[in-house]
Amino acid sequence: MEATVGRARESSRRSGNGRLIGILLIGAAVAVSLGVYGRVHDPTGRSLVTLVFTRSINLKVWFATIAFALALFQLGSSLRIYGKIGHGRAPRWLRPAHRLSGTLAFLFVIPVAYHCLWALGFQPHQGVRVLAHGVAGCFFFGALTSKVLIVRSRRMPSWTLPVVGGALFAAFTVIWLSSALWFFTTVEFPGL
């Protein structure tokens, strides 16, 4: 009986590892595809609809900042859910709030990333800041794809979600520092 249970657990573990590798490969494919797209696609040089903002760049930095604020909530709420901060069990509303904030952050990021890739492209020879921004941007969408797939998969190793979520947050921090914070500190603030 114990041997059967052990074999079943081993089989389940291997199946989870295989699925994880597949998911990471899908994420890598997304990241590389976006980088290749940004590199080979001729930048259109078009601006975004500005909504209430004066220019596209202002809309982008503020959308990115809203998404970064939501990402900070994601970080805090995940630490609370995993019991790393606070006492006792996390409140029941925190898990749905975590999911909703992540989805909203993704929706705010779409027009920003779209403009970066479609209108500006991947620019590896414009200095360290632009290069880091482009690489982190491509990595971010790969990691995001992997994270969404991991959340919805069963039998994943327990460390995967915190590690991929942490990588996602780290990449978005680089993106925000190299774009919005750079804009606020060197161009204008609040820059609406």
Binding site: G45, L48, R99, T103, I110, P111
Partner: protein, 39 residues
């Protein structure tokens, strides 16, 4: 339980819709709705 399931479905629909819209925009479909002619 049903409420939780519908919330999860809503999140999934939003994520998939966002991804599809993102890909379509990058492919140039409907880009005119979001862009102006020049920067």
């Amino acid at each position: 339980m049903a409420r939780r399931d519908s919330f999860r479905t809503l999140i999934l629909v939003l994520l998939i819709a966002g991804a599809v819209i993102f890909v379509l925009l990058l492919a140039g479909v409907g880009s005119g709705l979001l862009t102006h002619p020049k920067i």
